[in-house]
Symmetry: C2
Subunit: 414 residues, 2 copies
């Protein structure tokens, strides 16, 4: 039974793998024996016009939760530290928009090349930008190059590593999937000529990877007909360099956003994933505190969701543990309700991070007050303070809501 | 440029086509010349176990907006009057669940057959139930049989009619789509043997249709190997009856719900479609009335959404115009706020219809009051009345909310 997509969506932030020099840090899930080369780059052809989507915007620029699809894909690649450079081939008319996307979403390792009229020409242009003999060579020629699609945002490090290692060993490698529909060959009169045995065929998906010299050589020898009408890079490596690509089974999340329904699916998958984690931010290390008890109570209630907790007041880098975890939903527990300073500090950390650039960050502020002890005016002041704060941080894409809880009646189950 | 999916989702209600005796009532969108046979049935193999979905529930029974996927597909077929019988092949263990679905969602033309261990065996069992020589022959043998998938809920009458007419002429016909990915053939060692020319191949989708005698004959001659490992009905017609199927280009909405992301996509597509229409229900025929002006104002503001209006108090069948339109969002304008009788009558019509069985029905009740004339107590009473009414109708899946508008300040733009 194949699992449903489980990996995190394309997200920015710290690199999920070991350091670039760590050689073949193989994940558990079945990468081949072999070693990863030191220098890996990626080429993303993104010159398509999205005609299959039925919308004007090319599909790689279509927005998913307000953010262009290609930005998710770029960040999926950027999360993998050992991919040094990412060359995106875009048409001249989309060059400016692509530059804006790079700046707006903080992409760091991306260079642009001009797309050609076809997919193969775009890839070739991307490869040329990586080849040594380019005059403005800011980029260095990699040993292995990954070719991926801008419209497959859910690629994870596991499959990237597996294709790179296999390419290093075999010269070329690519992800495949079982066919969903039977493939047939029509005759000239629009009738069935024959159908293919589904068990003998596979869908060729992305990512693929190649020894740079193999695929660059293939493209240099390539006929105009291939550049114009070909669709399969693995086939070019076979035809021109006699390199038989290794085929690796990929997961269903490698699917290509092609039609309108795929955009809907991508949106729902991202929503599901960013809501799978809640971080309880507490203002004490005391494990008997309300915050920790709340975390335990939530764990019992919401067993599909990953609940973590972190104290806010650790010194130095650790303060930002919750940023490292790429979490977008927070419960900030403020036991001393008058301690607005701490809440503001937490919100500032969030606002200044890259988190709200990418998705709305949800913060539920929980304040405890003993209603029998505090006057009504203090309660009202607290409410007004939360409301004003919520208005303020909303400008930075942080959605704050507040709960005042009567401490004297506090039940420790939620 | 191919349009995005536009057709309505599978919905119950009145038949969208001409009467069954109307011969070939061709829709505008390119059905072939030819005529539709009088007797058409459909077979839906639904014995799959959903292993690709990564969930326990077979995918045809997975819920989309609370309703099993297969129910959407059945209603898409039931909307087409000229499909007389629909035979669903389900496994013995799902027979009871399927019976419950048929009853719960009011499916009328559905019979059950027992699924076999493979898709072909299930289809064969479905065909046997339609063949004349069955002892408990409640079903009549059709001239043409449609074979469709339970997990393709967005099939519309246009493609069904086209495959049926083509099958009547050619003996067999099926929907095809361009390939999304290149198809390759792996060698025994898991490397690329060759890739297929994408332009020369197509994905074979559903629906397909056959002269009943052709496909039944093919299944009767069929080898055990074909029944066990085959995937393509068109291929059986070719192999055993030398019938070359006509291939017809289908729309992207024919896609097959296979993985978890497809369920998400189906849900979003259905949501989008049921929110594309708002009906303003008014209590007067007076075209100068607030209700009509509201409709015009909404039309100007919401130009992607189809806004209709209908008076509530027409006699006889016409009262239910809004039910015929399969609309799920209503604005009920009550100019005389004290006329609760009328609102209740409208809500009863909705509750008693099949609408809230299928989706939540949203009703916004707009009442006008001149706040300068009515006392505060009357306003409060109106609010309490709406709240109580909302609680009551929520039990029937009708989501009511109310707006009290100060009539004296009424602006005629919304």
């Amino acid at each position: 039974m194949e699992p449903g997509p489980r990996s995190r969506p394309a997200e920015p932030g710290p690199c999920v793998s070991a350091s670039p020099s760590a050689g073949a840090a193989l994940p558990a899930s079945g990468a081949e024996p072999g070693s990863r080369p030191a220098a890996v780059a990626a080429v993303l052809p993104a010159g398509g016009c999205g005609e299959r989507m039925g919308v004007r915007t090319p599909k790689q620029f279509c927005r998913v939760l307000g953010r262009p699809l290609i930005s998710y894909t770029l960040q999926a690649l950027e999360r993998v530290c050992w991919i040094k450079d990412i060359v995106v081939a875009v048409t001249r008319e989309n060059m400016e928009e692509m530059r804006n996307i790079i700046q707006r979403y903080g992409h760091k390792r991306v260079s642009l090349a001009e797309a050609g009229a076809t997919r193969h020409r775009s890839i070739f242009n991307g490869l040329k930008a990586l080849a040594e003999d380019q005059p403005d060579g800011k980029l260095t020629k990699p040993e292995v190059v990954i070719i991926h699609d801008a419209v497959r945002p859910f690629v994870d490090e596991d499959i990237l590593l597996r294709v790179v290692i296999a390419a290093n060993e075999h010269g070329a490698a690519g992800a495949i999937r079982p066919l969903v529909s039977t493939v047939i060959s029509p005759s000239a009169d629009g009738c069935l000529d024959h159908s293919l045995d589904r068990a003998q065929h596979r869908a060729s998906e992305m990512p693929q990877a190649f020894l740079f010299d193999v695929i660059y050589d293939a493209y240099q020898q390539c006929s105009d007909y291939d550049l114009e009408f070909g669709t399969e890079c693995l086939q070019l490596a076979l035809k021109y360099c006699h390199t038989k690509a290794k085929l690796l089974e990929g997961s269903p999340d490698l699917w290509k956003v092609t039609y309108k329904q795929d955009l809907y699916a991508a949106e729902s998958m991202i929503k599901e994933k960013i809501s799978q984690e809640i971080c309880v931010v507490v203002n004490t290390k005391d494990e008997e505190s309300v915050g920790y008890l709340l975390k335990e109570a939530l764990r019992n209630e919401l067993n599909c969701i990953n609940i973590t907790s972190t104290p806010l007041d650790l010194p130095g880098r650790d303060t930002q543990n919750f940023l490292m975890a790429q979490c977008y939903s927070f419960i900030h527990v403020n036991v001393v309700s008058s301690d607005s300073h701490e809440t503001q500090r937490f919100l500032s950390i969030i606002e200044e991070s890259s988190l709200p650039l990418l998705y709305p960050v949800v913060v539920v502020l929980v304040c405890f007050l003993d209603f029998t002890l505090v006057p009504l005016t203090q309660k009202m002041e607290s409410l007004v303070w939360i409301r004003d704060l919520a208005k303020e941080v909303k400008k930075s894409n942080v959605l704050l809501s507040g709960l005042l809880i009567n401490h004297s009646q506090l039940a420790l189950t939620v």
